[in-house]
Amino acid sequence: MASAPSKLCTDDVSLLVVLLDTNPYFWSTSNDSSVSLSNFLSHVLSFLNSILFLNQLNQVVVIATGYNSCGYIYDSSLSSSSSITKSSGNGRVPAFCSELLENLEEFLTKDEKMSIEESIDGIGSSLLSGSLSMALCYIQRIFRSGPLHPQPRILCLHGSPDGPEQYVAVMNTIFSAQRSMVPIDSCVIGAQHSAFLQQASYITGGVYLKPQQLDGLFQYLITVFATDLHSRNFLQLPKPAGVDFRASCFCHKNTIDMGYICSVCLSIFCKHHKKCSTCGSFFGQAQSQAASMSDQKRKGLET
């Protein structure tokens, strides 16, 4: 359903949904080797502007991935097409930038108010699953709007570490993106690789990249992520060196190398249980005893 009608549109008209990581804990801890938020935004805004530049019909949607919530902060289809790239009143930035920044600020204050006083150890993770689902919802709406729609893709600009507690939700969004043939590109700006995004890009056929030098972010974005889906057939884009396929267990949300799997619903557990917490199946006693004797023989999770 998803891919066939898109052929009607011109080759390179694209809808780019950008997920911006706005986790305040991540941005406040960023040290010298990484970029500051304002620096990062200026790279991203120029990138977005150049996407809008490429084709009059290109569309850009920006979703903020916050710590407590997610929100749409910009949609180029809502402002009149020809005025987007034009200068705003003071002639210093394109009109859409000021609109985006205003919305972003509003979102950040709202996101901050929602946070409950609690001690957070480390950076904490932002709500990737939430913003991915919002992006997919938006794309579904575009798919259903009629036979003529731009080719959608998602770009995650993510810095915060993965939150293992979101494992199931993130995996579900990844699979639904795969089903509707929407590639998820990921550009990791944090210190470590993100296993979630590696898997997301791998499964959906997107590009995963962790830029070496963040001060050249614009060039990375332009050379790799500005490539429309049509041109990707002809170009060599970065290939993943290795993908971290590890899963999180359903019971304690830990990332595990080896664990137990429910043979009925494929839920993953790090310890042996008598009953599956997801589907309620009882696990046979005899087998579990045998298993506890030799944990190593248990079915691993790696595929």
Partner: protein, 496 residues
């Protein structure tokens, strides 16, 4: 290049064969052969069959400008943006990639990015960039090619990207109610149709546009045969023009308009840059006419006749309102979203119902069908053998008719696959094939051979070349293809 096979991408004036041969090149020829005025400047135009190649869009025309004029165009940031948008997808990416790089990049590093499948696309993209002088090619001492962005283009694009563009004029604040987008659309439509009607037959048009007679003649050149003492008749090109979609027609007219500019004493570059600038104005906004130069005012008035802009006058000032047609000028041709809604339903019994009140549609349908009756909003016709034969005689091909019917299929039938019943499509093709039953091959006849041996060896010789068309050993007569005539003659001479 986009892969939509526009039936009129290439067009031959001389004969059908030429047309066929050209259309056989489904793949786009190397861009430099697409220069639109190749027929005007070709020195051997009188000897060669006159082949006219129609540029697919505005940008092909821009690309054919001399280098100094192109550089002049690059000085305006909006034109840079328009040029960028007109490029093939891969070329767009190449421009952005070099946007902030000031040193020349060797061609090899570009090729490293390209997958084997994409090499042809890559070459088309690079050729196009060089042709438009966006990339500047340098060849160093080691014969290594490297590319660099045109510095003016680069700076303009950077500015545009970071600060946003500023149009030379701002929309006017008005207390008057401006026409809504729908109203503008109808206005454009009416104006364009009126223009087309006047173009094909000035008597049919209810009201005339304000184009001067001379201007109209320029547009009609190539579309109508203009013999003296004879009512002008649509030529083959004219028919094909009518079957094109609005955008393609618009390109044709604009191209004629611009190529005629010099005769009117206007620099084509000024015109091109003004039109590109117009395409960045906002649809439906009013712009003060006082912000224009004199030449531009004349142009705007002409464009208003075509329905590209709407002119309005207030108590003190007058203003123009760009319509969708003009803002689409810089969008590439293959853009299908601008296509209008279809109106034709074809049934399996060869009846055709066209939900349209437009005279123009009626005229077009009349080209290949028998119009039976006309109701206020419905034209009923039948596709008959006779009507199709007269269309074929006029040089319309079956494929053009079918693609017209498909493109203009009523939304209800457009959902169905195929939108035109298969038996009707097949029959249209069959009727066309009927006309081409005789195939002509230039040939030479040999007779009065001195002996049977000479005759046989000549036959064998011709057969080796694969050029025997007919032979009769009793009367010793042989017919061979014209292209091996020389070989045979040489051969026979040696036999003596």
């Amino acid at each position: 290049m986009h892969s939509t096979g526009s039936p009129l991408g290439l067009e031959a004036v001389a004969g059908r064969n030429q047309l066929r041969r050209l259309q056989a090149h489904k793949h786009p020829p190397p861009p430099h052969s697409l220069k639109f005025h190749s027929d005007l400047q070709s020195p051997c135009a009188d000897k060669m069959p006159q082949v006219k190649i129609i540029a697919k869009n505005f940008m092909d025309m821009v690309a054919s400008l001399p280098a100094c004029k192109l550089d002049k165009l690059c000085e305006s940031p909006f034109i840079c943006e328009a040029i960028l948008r007109s490029l093939p997808p891969l070329a767009k990416k190449y421009v952005l990639q070099l946007l902030y790089i000031v040193v020349p990049i060797p061609a090899k590093s570009f090729e490293e990015w390209v997958l084997p499948d994409g090499l042809s696309k890559h070459r088309v993209a690079i050729d196009r960039l060089i042709q438009l002088r966006v990339y500047i090619e340098t060849i160093d001492r080691k014969k290594e090619t490297s590319y660099q962005l045109n510095p003016t283009f680069q700076i303009n694009l950077q500015k545009q990207l970071i600060h946003g563009g500023v149009l030379p004029r701002e929309p006017m604040p008005l207390n008057v109610r401006l026409p809504t987008l729908e109203e503008l659309e109808t206005y454009t439509h009416e104006q364009w149709e009126c223009f087309l009607l006047q173009l094909i037959s000035s008597t049919q048009a209810e009201r005339l546009t304000n184009f001067s007679f001379a201007m109209m003649k320029v547009f009609q050149r190539g579309l109508l045969s203009q013999r003296e003492k004879e009512a002008p008749r649509l030529t083959e090109n004219g028919f094909q023009f009518l079957l094109m979609d609005t955008n393609a027609q618009l390109w044709y007219i604009i191209r004629e308009y611009i190529s005629n500019a010099e005769e009117r004493g206007v620099d084509p570059v000024d015109l091109i840059s003004f039109m590109l600038e117009l395409s960045f104005h906002e649809t439906g906004q009013a712009y003060n006419i006082n912000t224009l130069t004199e030449v531009q005012i004349i142009t705007v008035k002409d464009l208003a006749n075509l329905g590209l802009v709407k002119l309005q006058q207030g108590r003190k000032d007058s203003w123009f309102i760009p319509t969708k047609l003009v803002t689409n000028l810089s969008v590439s041709l293959s853009d299908s979203t601008t296509r209008k809604q279809g109106f034709v339903v074809v049934e399996t019994n060869f009846r055709m119902y066209a939900y349209s009140s437009s005279k123009l549609h009626c005229e077009i349908l009349r080209l290949f069908s028998r119009v039976e009756y006309q109701l206020p909003n419905l034209i009923v016709g039948a596709i008959t053998k006779e009507s199709l034969y007269s269309a074929f005689e006029n040089g319309i091909t079956a494929e053009q008719i079918i693609s017209f019917l498909q493109q203009n299929a009523h939304p209800r039938v457009a959902e169905r696959m195929p939108s035109v019943p298969e038996n009707v499509m097949d029959q249209i093709r069959l009727w066309e094939a009927d006309l081409n039953r005789v195939e002509m091959t230039p040939a030479h006849l040999y007779e009065e051979f001195p002996s049977k041996d000479v005759f046989d060896s000549a036959c064998d010789f011709a057969r080796d070349y694969g050029g025997v068309l007919w032979e009769d050993s009793k009367t010793m007569r042989l017919v061979v293809k014209a292209d091996i005539h020389n070989h045979i003659r040489e051969y026979l001479r040696r036999q003596k």
